[in-house]
Amino acid sequence: MTMDGTEVLTRTVTEDEATILDGWTGALRESASLQGGRIREAELQTQAKAVLGQFRDALVAGGLDADGESYAPLRETLADISRSRAIQGFTPTDTANFVFSLKEPVFEALRLKSGADASAQAAGMWAGGKVIDRLGLQTMEVFLASREEVIGRQGQEIAELSTPVVRLWDGILALPLIGTLDSARTGVVMENLLQAIVDEEAEIAIIDITGVPTVDTLVAQHLLKTVAAARLMGADCIVSGIRPQIAQTMVHLGVELNVVSKATLADAFAVALRRTGRKVVRQQVPTEGRG
């Protein structure tokens, strides 16, 4: 009698589904999945039941081809579970173990079913191992893709958050830059600044680079482009926040910022006020004391 592993596996999973489900939820309960309290037991049980049901259907319809058409609903379910776990903050191990912990109850059921027929058991285990491994890997792929999605979205949010244009006074804008100034961010910065110049009818824009750790020629070039664009819109720029070490480095690099620059934002603001015909004066101390 030739042993077809797929057949043994399919028969076992179909006939012993309830036992396998019990074994699997038991294993899941013991593993770390539940311990963080991130997922309720009832939810885990529902997921396990749905996955096992679809696994059985897929085995009956499509055999071991985990990438095939018959596995599509199962893959979809696993992808959903994986995605929600990535968001809930599960570790990759927890997520992979959700699928891999199915092996033990399946192998146990195969052992009981095959009895003394060792070749049937071996063939069934090989088939089961192969298909469960493939499903586990697919789950991980989705898990990682979801993580990357989260990271990508955060990157975008940071880019938007970190380039605010602040109105300091009528006609005076400040643009505090923080972090690395690459081409993509310069684009966002320039767009925000130019729009704010129009909206606020600004005469002076202060670009503060206190939070930019390294000013190399590329950053300098981006700054110069932003300044030139603002000038075309009729606003003058002041660059502030040039720390001593940055000043020395820029001199050695040979970069010339043909723009008014100041060491601190406060100095730059004072210049801007003066240019727009304003002055900050200390209020007279009231002659009547506070009592």
Partner: protein
Amino acid sequence: MTITKAETLPIRSGDDVVRVRQRVRALAIEIGLGLVDQTKIVTAASELARNTLDYGGGGDVRTEIVQAGTRKGLRLIFEDQGPGIADIEQAMTDHYTSGGGLGLGLGGAKRLSNEFHIESTPGAGTRVTIARWK
């Protein structure tokens, strides 16, 4: 002169340039460079890493902490297998650029370092070595 610590970092994307900067800054702090010298070597590394990426088509950088007697220094070797530089003298000239930059990177990196050495074979690649001593 002995090398006490060496490692190699890849330069394949813009993010790698940021990582190179961060690593160089950490190493500069480790050998006790002052704030100005840290900024100088980090900026020079940034220029050369970007050249490796933009003009050399990517490559890697080898960072070495070197010791000569009681002096410690940081040496960086940028290497790529790109098209190379035909006229090094022209490339070193300020405001000359074959791309769209300011044309100050190579000359600037030289002025920011204590030692600077460049060798390039057209068609085979470029290797730039800089060092900053404490």
